[in-house]
């Protein structure tokens, strides 16, 4: 278990994705067999651990500890499971294997679970006890996104990432077939009859001027729907819904998944749509975050799947076909289902037409521009889809807080504000968005110095500053955010320029930004 604690601590504290992957690769190198598989599963939150209530263990601990000392300790640490883990007397510390611990807990009958757990705690060091109790009391938590884990696996094993992505969803911890394959002992796991994820095509965002050498003979055009790009995979008796990076989100969208009465892989965009109106992306995020979903959420936040391509239909792979052929197959195959829609293509002749379409899209709810696909493009690596997105809004905001990312000396995370309600003594400034400041090193240095010199209060790595530094920013849209004071937050906020002098125009108001909500 020592190796697992080291891994999870490293993943929790590492400042960069690269470092997180480094910790995982080190773990893969140093462990083997089921220990390795279970460790990986815990890191990416794919292992269903049996759960216990920390309070139940408290009773057992109080048989051996003065209740007052327990209460004082709990008051200090704040967290019950951590308090119990640290106070637990472990009379027989020895190194336990990860697989042994997991399997003992898994096969324990419900009424024996606590006894089995206590036996394990009796052998563990404090940091191991804390980790195990957290895993069993706090609900699932990913220490590393699955996509980072998969690319770490690829770089560790020198096996192509797309191949790993393809089999990943068909595997279960401790992933024996996966490691046997990655280490060359057996061939790639069989995926016949399994809902697999197949890497989607990469996408390119055109700059604001848009395309200049396009023709209707070469490119098909459709609306670019604002939402979550997904892949629905259905084979044998298995149906799975994946995000663009292969995260399994099936449990969040039964309203989409239950309609899959076919075999194949179809793709498109998910939105929350009620009575024909596309609702804010915040509501889609709530749907994605709730797994399994709830009946109430299904009713209040109904999802719509806008299908726009397919890699496989009725067990026939379409990857080798051109988009024209795939589209034809898709249109022939598609029949309307509840919560499903076929995303249509738009007729166009000239670049001017496209310009007008894109202009038109700025007034459409749930559309952020156009998507362009080559008619003759196959669904294979190196083919790219083009996005011509609406130009972002621009405005000027004032700096409220600067924050250092862990392990960095730069105040790179900035919270920016707009003018709130007018009141006596002037208007308040309310935060409307957080942005990673990506400016030249010299300018970043100057921003740092300015923040140091104008700090009003310190909250750990965060500094509040006096009003006096402005940023020209761009953002794609305004989202409702009921928990924030301003009631909104700016999406895809980016810094364009640092303004060292007070701009001439009055600072934009929250009210003006609110008007962009529609």
């Amino acid at each position: 278990m020592k190796g697992l604690t080291f891994l999870l601590d490293g993943l929790s504290n590492a400042p960069t994705d690269e470092a997180k992957q480094g910790y995982l690769k080190n773990f893969l190198k140093k462990t083997s067999g089921a220990d390795r598989g279970y460790g990986l599963a815990i890191a990416v939150s794919e292992l269903n651990m049996p759960t216990v209530k920390a309070a139940a263990l408290k009773g057992s601990l109080l048989d051996r500890l003065d209740p007052k000392l327990f209460e004082l300790s709990h008051g200090f640490a704040g967290d019950l499971s951590e308090t119990i883990a640290l106070l637990w007397p472990a009379p027989a510390i020895k190194e336990l294997r990860i697989a042994e611990v997991i399997e003992r807990l898994k096969i324990a009958k419900k009424q024996d679970l606590q006894t089995v757990l206590e036996d394990i705690l009796n052998c563990q060091e404090a940091s191991e006890r804390r980790m195990l109790l957290k895993l069993m009391t706090a609900g699932k938590k990913a220490f590393l996104p699955g996509s980072l884990a998969k690319s770490a696996l690829a770089s560790w094993s020198k096996v192509d990432l797309t191949e790993i992505e393809e089999v990943w969803a068909t595997l279960t911890p401790p992933y024996k077939e996966l490691f046997d394959w990655l280490e060359g002992r057996v061939s790639k796991p069989n995926t016949i009859g399994r809902a697999i994820f197949k890497s989607p095509l990469s996408t390119i965002r055109l700059d604001e001027q848009g395309p200049n050498s396009l023709s209707p003979e070469v490119h098909a055009v459709g609306w670019s729907w604002e939402g979550l790009r997904v892949q629905l995979s259905s084979f044998g008796d298995e149906v799975k819904l994946f995000s663009e990076i292969g995260e399994d989100i099936t449990a969040a969208f039964p309203d989409i998944v239950d309609q899959a009465d076919f075999h194949g892989i179809v793709e498109g965009v998910l939105q929350v749509v009620k009575d024909g109106v596309v609702l804010p992306s915040e509501m889609l995020q709530q749907r994605v975050g709730r797994r399994p979903t709830t009946k109430k959420l299904l009713e209040s936040h109904p999802a719509l799947f806008r299908v726009d391509d397919a890699q496989n239909l009725e067990d026939r792979a379409l990857n080798g076909l051109t988009f024209r052929q795939r589209r034809e197959a898709l249109e022939k195959w598609f029949r309307p289902r509840t919560n499903w829609d076929l995303s249509s293509l738009i007729d166009w002749r000239t670049i001017d037409d496209l310009d007008k379409l894109r202009e038109e899209s700025t007034t459409m709810k749930g559309v952020d521009g156009l998507i362009l696909k080559r008619w003759e493009g196959k669904y294979i690596k190196d083919e790219e889809w083009l996005f011509w997105l609406n130009p972002p809004f621009t405005t000027t905001l004032v700096l409220l807080y600067g924050e250092k990312r862990p392990g960095s000396s730069q105040f790179s995370e900035l919270t920016l504000g707009a003018r709130g309600e007018e009141a006596e003594g002037g208007a308040s400034i309310l935060p409307v968005g957080k942005v990673s400041c990506r400016v030249e090193a010299d300018e970043q240095k100057a921003v740092n110095q300015w923040i140091e010199a104008n700090t009003v209060e310190r909250f750990g790595p965060v500094r509040s500053v006096a009003q006096g530094l402005w940023f020209e920013v761009s953002f794609s849209s305004v989202q409702k955010a009921s928990r924030r004071k301003a009631g909104l937050v700016l999406d895809n906020l980016e810094v364009r320029r640092v303004l060292w002098e007070e701009p001439n125009e009055v600072l934009v108001s929250v009210k003006e930004l609110t008007s962009l909500l529609n």
């Binding site: 080291f6 490293g10 504290n13 590492a14 400042p15 960069t16 690269e18 470092a19 480094g22 910790y23 080190n26 500890l65 003065d66 007052k68 000392l69 004082l72 300790s73 200090f76 640490a77 704040g78 967290d79 951590e82 308090t83 640290l86 106070l87 060091e125 404090a126 940091s127 804390r130 862990p406 392990g407 960095s408 000396s409 750990g460 790595p461």
Partner: protein, 341 residues
């Protein structure tokens, strides 16, 4: 007959300036400048500048001079450990406390009543500090920085092993060590040496100065280098004691994504790692943990325990539930959870 410990309250007073010995007319670790000060150790919350006469171990005086220069005191009196002296009828004797180099407990004996002011102390073996000595007394004044049963510092070897594993995982990344310049820094270096790391270790200004003083006082820290004088060096994978911004500003090109390391007893409790975010928080402390605190009280076996800074309540409760008298002693300037631990 009066208990000896009860009697102590008549001649040893808590004042705004700190613990004051009436018949001897001196203070122990005063919070502001006084005429005569007995200092347990050179950390800033115990040794303040501006006292007229200062009695302390020669090491403590050396660190005070390094830090305060002339303001260390007008008259600096080095005290030999274990050798009693008399001040105004009070017998005073210094004993090692094991906290940092030169740290002492101070025994005060007056009219048959023995009081030990232990300052900060620890019981773990520390290659850079003389080991704590148990001094029998009627009243034991103890810190309780980690006076809760959930504080139990793991063996230091295991923590250093973690550091070595992180190095092995990322051989190219520099280790940026955060440690208090007096004590923690040198102890970490000594533990790294003990674990077989013999390469040069780089140190920033104050950490380098204190470490040089350690070496002059006979503590071997191996090959240490001043960061300032190492501008041309490639610090990839090196061990560097310096603030992150200093390291990045001066060596930004060779130091990419350093591994930030902190060492503190507070790291035992996750929610309370208030040393700031670090990639590698090591549970290493220069204070006693709970098992050592309670063991020390039993070994010293005083009639009464006076508890200063830290979690007094649990310590007092523990004493009282074992039929030992105990009370909190609120000393000015030492409340709250300090930066070091």
């Amino acid at each position: 007959m009066q208990r000896a410990s009860h009697q102590a309250e008549s001649w040893l007073k808590v004042t705004r300036k700190g613990l004051y010995c009436v018949p001897g007319d001196f203070y122990v670790d005063p919070a502001s400048a006084v005429d005569r000060a007995l200092i347990t150790h050179a950390h800033g919350d115990h040794a303040r500048p501006g006292n007229r006469s200062v009695l302390a171990s020669k090491e403590t005086l050396a660190f005070m001079q390094l830090r305060y220069g002339k303001r260390a005191g007008q008259k600096l009196v080095p005290i030999e450990l274990g050798k009693p002296l008399s001040i105004g009828g009070v017998t005073v004797c210094f004993y090692p406390a094991g906290h940092v180099l030169g740290s002492c407990q101070i025994l005060l004996e007056y009219e048959g009543c023995r009081v030990v002011a232990s300052g900060d102390y620890k019981r773990r073996i520390d290659p850079t500090s003389q080991a704590f000595e148990v001094v029998p007394c009627h009243v034991f004044i103890t810190e309780a920085t980690f006076g809760l049963p959930l504080f139990e510092h793991p063996p230091v070897e295991g923590e250093i092993e973690k550091l070595k594993q992180v190095r092995e995982t990322f051989p190219e990344r520099t280790l940026q060590m955060n440690a208090y310049s007096l004590g923690k820094c040198q102890r970490l270096i000594a533990e790294l040496r003990r674990s077989g790391i013999d390469e040069p270790i780089y140190l920033n200004g104050s950490q380098f100065q204190h470490s040089e003083t350690y070496q002059e006082l006979g503590v071997d820290l191996g090959h240490i280098r001043s960061l300032e004088e190492s501008r041309g060096d490639n610090l990839k994978g090196a061990i560097v004691f310096a603030p992150l911004n200093v390291l990045l500003e001066q060596f930004g090109e060779t130091v990419r994504d350093p591994i930030t390391v902190t060492a503190s007893g507070w790291h035992r409790v996750r929610g309370k790692s208030f040393m700031g975010a670090s990639e590698l928080p090591l549970v290493i402390s220069d204070h006693v943990d709970w098992p050592e605190l309670t063991k020390t009280i039993e070994e010293v076996n005083p009639e009464e325990v006076w508890v200063t800074h830290g979690s007094e309540e649990a310590t007092i409760h523990w004493c009282q539930s074992r039929q030992r008298r105990a009370k909190a002693l609120s000393l000015v300037g030492r409340e709250g959870e300090g930066e070091e631990g």
